[in-house]
Amino acid sequence: MNENTKNVMIIGGGIAGIQSSLDLGDMGYHVDLIEQEPCIGGRMAQLDKTLPTNDCSICILAPKLSDCFRHPNVKIHSLTQVQEISKNGRGFKVKLLKKARFVNEDSCINCGLCVEKCPMKVLDIFDMKMRKRKAIYIYYLQGVPAVMAIEKEKCLYLKNKNKEKKVCGFCSDVCEHDAIDFSQTDTNYTLESDAIIMASGSNQYDPTPLYTYGYKKFKNVITGLEYERMISASGPTEGHITRLSDNTHPKNIAFVQCVGSRDVNTNSYCSSICCTYSTKHAILSREHDEEMQSTIFYIDLRAGGKGFQKYIKRAKDEYGVKYVRGKIAEITIDENANPILHYEDLDTYEVKTKKVGFVILACAMIPTRNSGKLAKVLGVELDEFNFVKSSIDSPVNTNIPGIFACGSCLGPMDIPHSVINASGAAAKVSEYIRVQKGGNHG
């Protein structure tokens, strides 16, 4: 590495972190991209399609993942978290913890032999726990780096490591590349960086506490992200819309808006992406099944982004999606586990019911718990909703000079906004570093 090369640390390898990395890498900065999961990709990797174009999410993301992986200026630190940070002039010293993968990243070729042999089944978090994977696994099929990882807590060999007799270890036996390394341990190391971008993303609100919706109580009430995996061809049901109660295909789906949002008892803010992502779900449902009837229950229909109104029109005109201005009071079920929605029609103020085969709750985007921890470590101020606090005239700055933020850790936002923010943060980083250097260029 050139002595004069400046380093930037980007925390979070979702679409925002990836975009910042690529921009800064292209500008000639060395980028350390920190990702806590085994692969980069973030939420976008979980999505089936993106709106309003309905292009396949992973298809447009995959080239970016590879660009990141192959970029000479970008280094991906997977399974890594930030532990501590200290000031270092105008820059920072960051202490990191890399969790043991138990698989050698350089030798694994992702052939999958080990997965076949592994006897331990584990709920797959990437697939929203709707299917099981093995204790040795690739985070998701198109994931980058494309190497296996072993989940320490579930691995038979590692759990019984201290016993006299060797237990399991089939993966290691079968691996033709000697990639399995049970001796790996978690490691601490320190990196210096001249600026930091926080891109730690967001989470989906867990609607279990809103017991009136019956999530977890009724099998045919699931969340938006769960549905996203369900309609994905590489998801748990291979793209078949399947009721979890009886594995049949529903003909009638209700989408409930503002679950855990615009509600002072949970999150008072508007999650801003749900009206349109439910519309996407409804359109895709009809594409999966020509007879599918979808109804979206909403309070205000919020679709201000480019092409979004047209998208909704298309949903209504071409895909027969019904929009009902209504607030759900309660969801119950009949003897066949069909959900019944009891709702107030907000146009007429009448109380009505509707029986459907399946209910999808459009749950709010919320800050991740790890973002909170990370903000504390970095000293970054959060707003009243626990998103990173930014201001109207400096939308990608944090309160700490040299630390910037982008993507949904700043608040609920869709992919284009995340990408815009991400490039924006990259520009501000470059400005911060070059001004520090004395500015003049060329």
Partner: protein
């Protein structure tokens, strides 16, 4: 010439292809085609695993042509070409066969026929691959400077970030001063910041020695290409010419004047913009105010949501309530658009302050009479009358259509149906154009609020910095080429070339300036003497595909 060794990688794309095309039979078939020495199937060829397989395939089999039969070249070609380059193979020896968008996805109910079609497509690809020629990309010098068209908040944000990094920036503003729509605003949400405070960025811009500002100026002409654009600006009567490396389009939008709608007269029935002017000049003294949302938007003519009007109405309603808590403010709306964290809070606060929100239906628009607004209340199922002394219409942001059109022609970039600039990709390239070296930010792309416009300005600056922080830019190698033996210098091509890439050289020969050539091929088809060929889309390459399709192999019977 070396022996041609073609490797074909057939992608399952999970079940996207394999579910509708018999990929195993495709692989078997490919093995029988001339020059094919290696075949493989991959679950996801674009994954790192798939790419590694290609690399190994090239290395172990000494491949000098690579074919991937998978999805559309429009998204993945650069990736696979990159892999070839990495392995020391000329990237133009890569050939993409699309058996997903063009086959498996569109013939989902006819597996056999889809498979047969895929066989044909791959055969055509193999025939073409055998005739591919290596091409060199070349480097062009890049001037480390940017032209920013439009001096509103978005353009100024981009300018400040770029200039602070030491790059030369030229702002061309058609108005008599910088600031754009920001000048018309009274306060900004959230936090009720005074727009004047944000406008102070103008002084910074004007003081910055790296920024050159031309007010009252228009773009007259744009020539050249990434790294070396030649700009002609008309400043009053005077023509100014200069060169820049990159261009940012930040021309902004206007606010719709609702002529003929709701008895708009600019006095008793005004727009939000006019209301803010009243605030600024301390001229406001109305007590019964009715605001109507979606005036001239979300209708047949302008089906889009302008996305900032609900917040603007609320912001102004709050100002009224602060001035006079007894004033009555109604906001007649269709859907309240306050998406995001603080926006929703803002809405809640406005309601607490006593602003009354009430809904009207698009099929029964409110009526504005001499002294009252009548609207149909859905829950009461009857018309309701509200007395007013001021009606404020929330009108959408609209494009400067004619000017945008002119600019889009000069830049050769597209507009959408409403006159907004069309970016390269809505999701992943939101501030890029598909043409190299030209970027877009702010409301000329789509309605946006102030923080969004600033972010977009920064984003455009980032995309520009990627290019101008390096001395050179790499240009595609696929271009037109003139066979001097055949050329009779009739100059038909010279007139046809949309990029003025064909000229006479010092020796008076007709030649192609390859940096300018974008490979459209018009010159070739109109050349009487067949003297022009298009590299990578050569006559013999296309003909080989035709022959392979029609004279070899089977066809669905």
């Amino acid at each position: 010439m070396d022996e041609i060794r073609i490797g074909v990688f057939v992608c399952h794309c999970g079940t996207n292809i394999a579910g509708f095309v018999d990929v195993a039979s495709i692989e078997e078939y490919v093995k029988t085609l001339p020059h094919v020495v290696f075949t493989q199937r991959n679950l996801y060829t674009c994954s790192e695993t798939g790419l590694l397989a290609i690399k190994n395939g090239i290395k172990e089999n000494n491949l000098n042509r690579v074919i991937v039969a998978a999805c559309t070249p429009r998204t993945h070609e650069p990736l696979f070409r990159g892999i070839c380059s990495e392995m020391g193979l000329n990237p133009y020896f890569f050939e993409f066969v699309n058996i997903r968008e063009q086959c498996s996805w569109v013939h989902q109910k006819e597996k056999e026929k889809a498979t047969s079609k895929a066989r044909d497509l791959v055969r055509m690809g193999v025939a073409r691959a055998a005739l591919l020629e290596p091409l060199e990309k070349f480097q062009i010098d890049v001037e480390p400077s940017t032209l920013i068209i439009g001096g509103g908040i978005s353009g100024m944000s981009a300018a400040s970030v770029l200039a602070n990094q030491g790059f030369h920036v030229i702002i061309v503003e058609k108005d008599t001063e910088l600031g754009g729509q920001l000048r018309n605003l009274h306060r900004l949400y959230p936090g009720d910041m005074d727009s004047q405070k944000m406008l102070s960025i103008r002084e910074e811009i004007l003081k910055n020695p790296k920024i050159e500002v031309h007010i009252s100026s228009k773009i007259k002409n744009i020539d050249g290409y990434i790294g070396n654009f030649d700009i002609t600006v008309l400043k009053g009567e005077k023509e100014i010419k200069f060169g820049v490396g990159t261009i940012i389009v930040a021309t902004g939008t206007d606010v719709l004047k609702p002529k003929g709608l709701y008895n708009y007269d600019g006095k008793k029935v005004i727009t939000q913009k006019e209301l803010e002017l009243l605030f600024k000049e301390n001229q406001f003294n109305s007590k019964n105010i009715v605001m109507i949302q979606c005036v001239g938007s979300r209708n047949e003519e302008r089906p889009y949501c302008s996305s900032i009007c609900c917040m603007t109405a609320m912001k102004n309603a709050r100002v009224i309530k602060e001035k006079n808590p007894d004033a009555e403010v109604f906001i007649l709306n269709r859907d309240i658009y306050t998406s995001g964290t603080y926006q929703e809070e803002f809405y809640r606060e406005a309601r607490k302050m006593g602003v009354i929100f009430t809904r009207y239906n698009e099929s029964k628009l409110p009526q504005v009479t001499e002294d009252s607004v009548i609207y149909y209340n859905e829950s009461l199922k009857e018309d309701v009358e509200i007395k007013y002394d001021l009606v404020v219409l929330s009108t959408p942001l609209v494009t400067y259509h004619e000017e945008s059109k002119k600019l889009s022609k000069m830049l050769k970039v597209p507009l959408d149906e409403f006159g907004f600039f069309l970016e390269a990709h809505v999701k992943l390239r939101p501030v890029d154009f598909s043409n190299d070296g030209i970027f877009v930010c702010g409301t000329c792309k789509w309605p946006a609020n102030v923080p969004e416009s600033i972010s977009q300005g920064y984003a455009a600056a980032s995309r520009v910095t990627r290019i101008i922080s390096k001395d050179t830019f790499t240009v595609e190698g696929a271009t037109a080429w003139i066979d001097q033996e055949k050329c009779i210098a009739c100059e038909i091509c010279l007139k046809k070339c949309p990029y003025k890439a064909i000229t006479r050289d010092e020796e008076d020969r007709v030649i192609v300036r390859t940096v300018l050539c974008k490979c459209c091929g018009v010159c070739s088809t109109t050349c009487p003497e067949h003297a022009i060929d298009i590299r990578h889309y050569k006559d013999n390459q296309v003909e080989s595909q035709i022959t392979a399709l029609l004279e070899e192999g089977e066809w669905i019977e």
